[in-house]
Structures are given as structure tokens and as C-alpha cells.
């Protein structure tokens, strides 16, 4: 096999691994960010609904 094959494969594999790594970090960050905003939204909703319950009781 020609040397070009080894060179391009090694660059290709390295590029692929780095791309997967970047993609993973990026997607992971986005998913966590989304979970956190969803949780915060749910938290607000619950707090307000708890308040209305308290008002009903009073």
C-alpha cells in the first residue's frame, strides 16, 4: 500500500475521533442546558401552584 494511504487514514481517523469528541461535548452541553431550563420551568410552575393551594386553604 502507498504511504499516502497511511497518512490520510491517520489524519482521517484522528479527525473523526476529534469530531466525535467535539460533537459529544457540544450535544451533552445542550442536553444538560435543556434539562436545567425544563427543571427550572417546572419548579416555577410547582411553586406557583403550591401558592394557589395555600390561598385556597386560607
Amino acid at each position: 500500500m502507498s504511504h499516502a494511504f497511511y497518512i490520510y487514514t491517520s489524519y482521517g481517523v484522528s479527525g473523526a475521533i476529534i469530531a466525535i469528541l467535539c460533537l459529544w461535548v457540544w450535544l451533552d452541553g445542550r442536553a444538560r442546558q435543556k434539562e436545567l431550563t425544563a427543571l427550572e420551568a417546572a419548579g416555577h410552575r410547582r411553586r406557583s401552584s403550591a401558592k394557589t393551594q395555600a390561598e385556597d386553604a386560607a
Binding site: 500500500m1 504511504h3 499516502a4 497511511y6 497518512i7 487514514t9 491517520s10 489524519y11 481517523v13 484522528s14 475521533i17 476529534i18 466525535i20 469528541l21 467535539c22 459529544w24 461535548v25 457540544w26 451533552d28 452541553g29 444538560r32 442546558q33 434539562e35 436545567l36 427543571l39 427550572e40 417546572a42 419548579g43 410547582r46 401552584s49 403550591a50 393551594q53
Partner: protein
């Protein structure tokens, strides 16, 4: 009452990570841009460079292989420093740091192993030999995977961080072995030619692209590391919020 004080102590504990998150949000775009520019320059230089009379064009594999191998070791050193931070100062950011560095280290080690194989095949006629340098790097790879598995196996992040910090520090003996294996044992792998006491022996034509690529890889590592740390902090916040939500749900009933 007790829950309020718990919340307050949690908030003070997170104060540092909060500052870190703000800093990370500002730094990551800049670092990403610098990394991309460095990679563009490095790749251009490495493909424009002349070939080695002995190794032919395959010397170009060096421009990814050597920086990746260098990062594999540097990442472990960063993890070892963070492990000291975990055990001595119990700093929450140190836990996050070594946990999020492990997958990055594993990836860079994998790159250096694969490119090394692809370089070894045309040069030595075999994909792999069990000599001291290659074996010790492979053990480094297994250690990274072991640390990842250990972190995943434990529920409590604080405890997981302390246990894996001990493991990281024990495993640090491997780093000098990797570094000096080519000098201590007679191996197929060529000795270091850049990082030497008496100055680099490598030709200037190869040195410049290699240096630029090394800096590019290092920047890439730090960018990814900071982003991964931010993800880890967010993950812990999600967990904390979820536990809080579970507690609140029970109280809402009464």
C-alpha cells in the same frame, strides 16, 4: 428551617462553579476560534513541509501522532493535579476537572495509538509491537477507561471523585515510565527528538509544523476540557434540582 440552611450551604458551595460557568461562557467561543485557526495553520504547514529522506511522506503522521501522545500524558498530569486538589483542598471544581478530563484523555490516547500503528506498519512492517513505550501507552489507555468506568459506577459524585482521585495518583507512576521508556529500554520506538535537555535534534523543517500542531492540540484540549467541565457542573445541578423536586413533590401534598 433545616432545609433552608441546607439550600444556603449548597448555594455557597456552588458559588465558585457559578463564577466558573460565567467565565467559561465568555472564554469558550474565543478558545474555539483560536483552536480552529491554529489547526488551519498547522495542517497547511504540515502538508506543505518536505519529506524526510528516511521515512518518506509518512513523517506527516508525526504531526498528529506526537501532539496526541503529548496530550495523552499532559491530560493525565492535569488529572493528577486535580486529584491533589480533590484530596487536599476538597475543591468542588477539582472533582469536576478530573472527571471531565478522563474521556478527553482516553480519546487522545486512542488517537496516538491508532496513528502510531498506522505509522509503524510502513516503517517497521507491523501494526503493533509489545515494546516498553507502546505497552505503557496502552496501559495508560486502559487506565483512562478504568477511571471512566469507576466514575460511572458510583452514584455519589463526591465519593466517586475522591476514590478515583486516589486511583489517578497511584496510576501517575505510569507517566514517567512512558516518558523515559525509550531511554531506559532498548525499543523500536525512536527516542524523543523535541523535548530534550540539549535542545531539539529534529530538523527545523519538521519542527515548526510540529510545534504549531502541538499548540493547536493543546488549545483543543483546554477548550474541550472547559466545555466538558461546564457540562459536568450543569449535570450536577440537574441532579441536585431533581432531588429537590422529588422532596418538594412529597411536601406539596400535605
Amino acid at each position: 428551617m433545616s432545609t433552608t440552611s441546607l439550600v444556603i450551604s449548597k448555594v455557597t458551595g456552588l458559588a465558585n462553579p457559578t463564577r466558573f460557568l460565567a467565565l467559561a461562557a465568555r472564554m469558550i467561543p474565543w478558545m474555539a476560534v483560536i483552536t480552529v485557526l491554529l489547526f488551519a495553520a498547522g495542517l497547511y504547514m504540515s502538508f506543505a513541509s518536505t519529506s524526510d529522506y528516511q521515512q518518506g511522506y509518512t513523517v506527516r503522521i508525526m504531526y498528529v501522532h506526537v501532539p496526541a501522545a503529548w496530550l495523552a500524558m499532559m491530560c493525565y498530569s492535569v488529572m493528577a493535579l486535580s486529584a491533589i486538589g480533590t484530596l487536599v483542598w476538597r475543591h468542588p471544581l477539582a472533582d469536576v476537572s478530573h472527571k471531565s478530563a478522563a474521556p478527553l484523555g482516553a480519546a487522545f490516547t486512542l488517537i496516538s495509538l491508532i496513528t502510531g500503528s498506522l505509522w509503524g506498519k510502513p516503517m517497521w512492517g507491523t501494526w503493533w509491537v509489545w515494546d516498553a513505550r507502546l505497552t505503557s501507552v496502552f496501559i495508560l489507555f486502559l487506565m483512562y477507561l478504568g477511571i471512566i468506568a469507576l466514575n460511572r459506577a458510583m452514584d455519589d459524585p463526591g465519593k466517586a471523585a475522591r476514590v478515583s482521585a486516589v486511583l489517578i495518583l497511584v496510576g501517575f507512576v505510569n507517566i514517567p515510565i512512558i516518558k523515559f521508556s525509550v531511554e531506559w529500554w532498548n525499543t523500536l520506538h525512536q527516542p524523543a527528538s523535541v523535548m530534550r535537555m540539549d535542545g531539539p535534534t529534529i530538523d527545523k523543517a519538521f519542527l515548526w509544523p510540529l510545534l504549531v500542531m502541538a499548540i493547536a492540540f493543546t488549545m483543543l484540549f483546554f477548550t474541550l476540557h472547559i466545555a466538558a467541565m461546564r457540562n459536568e457542573i450543569l449535570r450536577r445541578r440537574v441532579t441536585a434540582q431533581r432531588r429537590l423536586a422529588a422532596r418538594m413533590a412529597g411536601r406539596g401534598e400535605e
